[in-house]
């Protein structure tokens, strides 16, 4: 989903310079999600489907309030519900709005082999460019949050764009606009982080959640979607949020360092063969036939 007004800072599988890099000042944006004040109304789910004009699909009922088990290529925003029983036997109803986290170091972009299929804007939004996507699904393997979803008909991968089309025009994402409780906020990364830290402190000091904290995992350079959680030590409780999200080394050390070096070494066989011919020469059938003048 292109957003022409946004500056690009990283392009998947791209050689050469990145157009627009550093030519304008751009604030990093961030979506703030306070799971402690989410009421699970799903207005954000509806707003997402609505704004992005996505075709409807059958929902799945599996004895929870959750719309379907996981996000889909045409359902980018899903509230995950978990009825959690605490150690003292009391019940806690956990709800987390699941969508693309817009990682600062995106595993999808690192894994992608197609030039320009995934871009990262200077404001931190990670966006798929379906016209350049080749449908290999490496991004699915690179993502620690199981976000990119493959459409078997179009053979392309789709995910939340953080409404890059709206943000490019100075609007907040559709989900933010629809939230009735104010648990969703949108602003600069610095501001949202400050709001989140203040809210977590409030939860710790005044609301009886001593483990409250902000989910902004440093293992992937932080994210442009951050959560305030009642218990930061157990993010897995919130619909499987990974405590320490990691990009497989295949797409970091192997792809960035080992693969290019190994390729150059491999291709070196060609000049070696050529100079073998120049220096040692061919193995002629013996004895070589000599041209005799007659």
């Amino acid at each position: 989903m292109p957003a022409g007004t946004l500056q690009i800072k990283a392009i998947s599988a791209h050689t050469g310079s990145i157009p627009g890099q550093g030519v304008q000042r751009e604030e990093e944006v961030c979506k703030y999600i306070d799971v402690t004040t989410c009421i699970g109304c799903k207005a954000c789910e509806v707003a997402c489907v609505e704004w992005n004009d996505m075709p409807f699909q059958q929902t799945t009922f599996d004895n929870t309030y959750q719309t379907m088990p996981a996000t889909a290529w045409n359902y980018w925003n899903l509230i995950k519900f978990n009825e959690h029983q605490r150690e003292d036997g009391t019940m806690q109803w956990l709800m987390r709005k699941d969508q693309c986290m817009h990682c600062e170091d995106p595993g999808c972009l690192r894994a992608c082999p197609a030039d320009g299929a995934i871009v990262q804007y200077a404001n931190g939004i990670v966006d798929f460019q379906q016209e350049n996507c080749i449908g290999c699904q490496y991004c699915v393997s690179g993502c620690p949050f199981d976000i990119p979803k493959f459409n078997t008909k179009t053979k392309k991968v789709y995910k939340c764009t953080l409404c890059s089309d709206r943000v490019g025009q100075g609007l907040e994402p559709a989900c933010i606009k629809s939230c009735p409780t104010g648990c969703l906020k949108f602003g600069t990364k610095t501001d949202m982080r400050a709001v989140a830290d203040a809210r977590a402190k409030q939860l710790r000091e005044h609301s009886g959640f001593p483990n409250a904290g902000v989910y902004d995992p440093p293992s992937i350079g932080g994210t442009h979607v951050i959560y305030v959680l009642h218990d930061i030590t157990k993010p897995e409780l919130y619909g499987g949020l990974p405590a320490n999200p990691r990009i497989p080394p295949t797409y970091t050390a192997w792809k960035r360092v080992a693969k290019p070096i190994a390729l150059l070494l491999g291709l070196f066989a060609a000049p070696v063969a050529f100079f073998h011919y120049v220096t040692e020469g061919p193995k002629e059938p013996q004895p070589p036939v000599r041209e005799v003048p007659r």
Binding site: Y138, V140, L263
Partner: protein, 252 residues
């Protein structure tokens, strides 16, 4: 020993020989019959197609250069597994066809110890024990067999990632890449050895025959089996004949 695969292979081999033609002229020996040649070029065609589509995706350095050859990125991605399946299937026939002459022997280990002499061309003739294939050719054959298995086993999860999950795909990636690199080097060496490095070799794979001189130079044990003659003695005789002819030409 006659497995069903071999019986099938034997039938296919006979049908191909009935179809094609190999002219063995004076001073030549039959090296590769029609069936072998068709298999070789079938494997070669799909190997090269798989190599080009694969390396287009392997590195951003090649992506913009190689994908247009196949109609763009999505088409390259679509075709690569099918080229590869064709490569593996035809190579399976080639594997059965060449299993016997390619089996490793003690002589091959001896040959590997004198690899330096082979590379630096210090000896005019190959050692007496070198049979239909030398140890270098056998290494390439077994490398293809091993990597074909790796390509298949790791390629299927990359083809159908939703079944296998992201970690299996990530591991498959690395193994697939390593196999591709081994094949890249092997292919470059094979291309050189089969053409410029050894005059006469390319003809054996196009029209099926080699000169007797070629046979006693590169594969003396094979020459002995097929002609019943001593390769070294025949070589000496050829040298003498040539020397005589030179003397006659030099005479006033």
């Amino acid at each position: 020993m006659s497995t069903s695969a071999e019986r099938f292979n034997e039938g296919a081999r006979r049908r191909f020989i009935a179809q094609g033609r190999t002219d063995v002229r004076a001073g030549e020996l039959l090296r590769h019959p029609v069936y072998t040649r068709v298999l070789h070029w079938g494997v070669a065609a799909f190997f090269i197609l798989a190599l080009l589509t694969g390396f287009a995706i392997y590195s951003p350095w090649f992506y913009r250069w190689l994908t247009p050859l196949f109609g763009g990125g999505p088409m390259t991605r679509l075709l690569h597994p099918w080229f590869s399946v064709a490569f593996v299937l035809i190579f399976a026939l080639q594997f059965v066809n060449w299993l016997r002459p390619m089996s490793w022997t003690g002589d091959d280990s001896r040959w590997m110890r004198r690899l330096k002499n082979y590379v630096t061309n210090t000896e005019r003739l190959e050692p007496e024990y070198v049979d239909f294939f030398n140890a270098g050719q056998k290494m390439y054959f077994w490398a293809i067999a091993a990597t074909a298995v790796i390509f298949l086993v790791t390629g299927i999860p990359m083809w159908f990632p939703e079944i296998f999950g992201r970690i299996v795909v990530a591991i498959s990636h690395v193994l697939h890449d390593i196999a591709a690199l081994v094949m890249l080097v092997g292919f470059i060496v094979h291309l050189y050895e089969g053409t410029a490095a050894q005059p006469g070799t390319f003809h054996s794979m196009t029209r099926g025959t080699v000169e007797k001189r070629w046979a006693w130079t590169h594969h003396p044990a094979w020459y002995r089996h097929i002609t019943g003659r001593d390769p070294r003695a025949d070589y000496e005789r050829a040298v003498q004949r040539q020397a005589e002819r030179m003397r006659q030409d030099d005479a006033p």
